[in-house]
């Protein structure tokens, strides 16, 4: 249960082609994250899978069955929306029970399942409240509860954490991962936040302008980004991308080096520059170095207790085996 495959799927809104022909296979039990900048088509892709939008052409199969023309209600998928989309006029219990009620399940069974979901999600004390009386995190849990009671073939999450504050986001991230470990159901998760993608996914799908740029496990994407877009998108702070003579020296159009793969020194190194802003995070310090002759800014990670000031000179040396090389078309060179 929970195998989804897309064959040559396209989507246009009027004359605007949002998704060019696209193939994707999602395996049973996988946690797949669609990630990309806003407007990359990741939410549209999710809505196509959900059946909330028609594909313009192509085929969607769920568990081997052609689901292309099947209405959303019949696809056996559950969705958690960005706004949670709770029914404001119903209590928490009624919200969670709604899909069961629509399926015509008897009341006793409904109550049993709602009670179970409420226990799993720590909502037992709130069942009689209205969504308006809940905090953001609690609402999020209700939305998840509404999704899990119907035991769907797969869960679809549309940027579910973007309305939460930073601390809560970290918490919910863990809870959703935990849920996936318990349920072992396929989950498709859309986000623009590469940190969520890296921390949660079994498989990341990086999208740009409707195209799949790369599919792979988080560490595959981190270690061997297929092109400069993925290289720049995955990892925080962003990979430094350098063009010009220094790249040519490595037989490449562009070279990339992650901030954490630059060794720092005050006395000597391959590259030289002047410290601009330094961000002290405690555990680490991120230095923004200017006047290197390589790129406008080079970001590098230094130890937390580093004492360098604005205007100081620093030297940097890239770790040779961590250097990424890209051709003029942006593609990775072997």
């Amino acid at each position: 249960m929970g195998r989804i495959s897309l064959n040559q799927v396209t989507k246009s809104f009027g004359d605007v082609n949002v998704i060019p022909p696209l193939d994707l296979d999602i395996n049973e039990g996988e946690f797949v994250v669609f990630v990309g900048p806003s407007g990359c088509g990741k939410s549209t892709l999710l809505r196509l899978i959900a059946g909330l939008e028609d594909v313009t052409s192509g085929e969607i199969r769920i568990d081997g069955q052609d689901a292309t023309m099947v209405p959303p209600a019949k696809r056996g998928l559950a969705m958690v929306f960005q706004s949670y989309a709770l029914y404001p006029h119903m209590s928490v219990a009624k919200n969670i029970a709604f899909p069961l009620r629509m399926a015509g399940m008897n009341k006793a069974e409904q109550d049993k399942r709602v009670a179970h979901a409420a226990k799993v999600l720590n909502l037992a004390d709130y069942l009689d409240r209205r969504p308006g009386q809940l905090s953001g995190g609690q609402r999020q849990r209700v939305a998840i509860g509404r999704a899990i009671v119907r035991e769907p073939a797969a869960f679809l999450f549309d940027e579910p954490l973007s309305n939460l504050d930073a601390a809560l986001r970290v918490n919910m991230r863990l809870e959703i991962s935990e849920l996936h470990n318990t349920l072992k159901t396929t989950m498709i998760y859309v986000t623009h936040d590469q940190v969520e993608a890296m921390t949660m996914a079994d498989k990341i799908v990086v999208l740009q302008a409707g195209r799949i740029e790369q599919v792979g496990s988080p560490m595959e994407l981190y270690r061997t980004p297929r092109n400069t877009f993925v290289a720049g998108f995955i990892g925080s702070p962003k990979m430094n991308l350098i063009e010009g003579p220094e790249a040519a020296r490595h037989d490449a159009h562009t070279i990339g080096i992650r901030p954490e793969h630059l060794a720092i020194s005050t006395t000597e190194g391959a590259w030289k520059g002047v410290v601009g802003v330094s961000e002290h995070l405690g555990s680490d310090t991120f230095l923004h170095v200017h006047q290197t002759g390589l790129a406008e800014t080079i970001t590098l990670r230094a130890p937390g207790e580093l004492e360098l000031r604005h205007g100081d000179t620093v030297y940097m040396t890239p770790e040779a085996d961590k250097l990424h090389r890209f051709g003029p078309d942006g593609l990775r060179l072997a």
Binding site: L52, P72, A85, Y87, H89, P99, M102, R146
Partner: protein
């Protein structure tokens, strides 16, 4: 603005605002006061405001003379009937435009509004003749039909602006949860839009209650609502001030009360949500 205002200024503003408010309200107040006078006191010179013999004589006279109750019931049936019928037609239409907007949705809305601009007098004659030939003239059902049609664009517009504020995601969630279109409208949309539907209902009851072109031209006696009933007080009976006032007070009181309770929603409704 949470800035402190001097008491003097606040006092002056209060005085001025109350004076103007009372001035604007005065004709209604005067009508109500006069309705409790005898005919002689009603035209006494100088007129007295409070110190006269309060009596309900005029009300009794009005109720005896003509069947006020019949006209009142006509007004109720016509205004609520046309509003209910209008809502029944408008809710699905507004759902379509709010949640499945197409390229032409804006044009359709504009066109619907433009039918309101068709001067009623331009179509009075054919409607009058059609009604005469089909026996709808001077019938409640005929007026319900006409008022439904003339208010339909406003009902649709109002519902559209309310529906548009309901996030589409909630309806999509219902769809994902297995609700059919009918279940989606009955269980999710309608309960969520109750305040909007209620204020649409109120506004249209008010508009229909006070509508005085079609009700005057298409009724004679049987189906005449209060607008026509009051018009019959035109001279010479209008000179009986107390009775005129009593009849007027009874005609406007229900709507005045409904209107006062719903004035906030009225603004939104009447401006098609353009002013909040």
């Amino acid at each position: 603005m949470s800035r402190a205002v001097t008491p003097q200024r606040k006092f002056a503003v209060t005085l001025l605002a109350w004076a103007i408010g009372l001035l604007i309200f005065f004709p209604i107040l005067w009508t109500i006061i006069t309705s409790f006078k005898t005919e002689a006191e009603a035209i006494a010179s100088p007129p007295s405001f409070l110190f006269f013999n309060w009596t309900t004589e005029a009300y009794e006279a009005v109720n005896q003379r003509s069947d006020y109750l019949k006209h009142f019931m006509n007004s109720v049936i016509i205004s609520f009937g046309s509003t209910a019928l209008g809502l029944l037609i408008a809710i699905p239409a507004a759902w379509s435009m709010a949640f499945v907007p197409g390229r032409r949705t804006k044009d359709v809305l504009m066109w619907m509004l433009s039918t309101k601009m068709l001067p009623p007098v331009g179509v009075l004659i054919p409607i009058y003749l059609i009604f005469r030939d089909t026996g709808l003239l001077d019938s409640r059902i005929g007026l319900v039909i006409v008022l439904t049609l003339i208010n339909l664009p406003i009902i649709i517009w109002m519902l559209f602006t309310y529906f548009r504020e309901i996030p589409g995601e909630i309806l999509e969630a219902a769809r994902m949860d297995g609700a059919t279109l009918r279940e989606e409208i009955v269980y999710i949309l309608t309960p969520m839009a109750v305040p909007g539907i209620a204020s649409t209902l109120l506004l249209n009851v008010i508009l229909s209650w006070n509508e005085a072109f079609w009700t005057l031209n298409l009724t004679a006696a049987k189906a005449a609502p209060l607008t026509a009933f009051i018009a019959s007080f035109s001279s010479p009976e209008g000179l009986f001030y107390a009775k005129l006032s009593a009849a007027s007070t009874m005609a406007i009181a229900p709507i005045l009360i409904i209107g006062w309770f719903s004035q906030k929603q009225l603004v939104r409704g009447l401006t098609f949500g353009a002013v909040k």
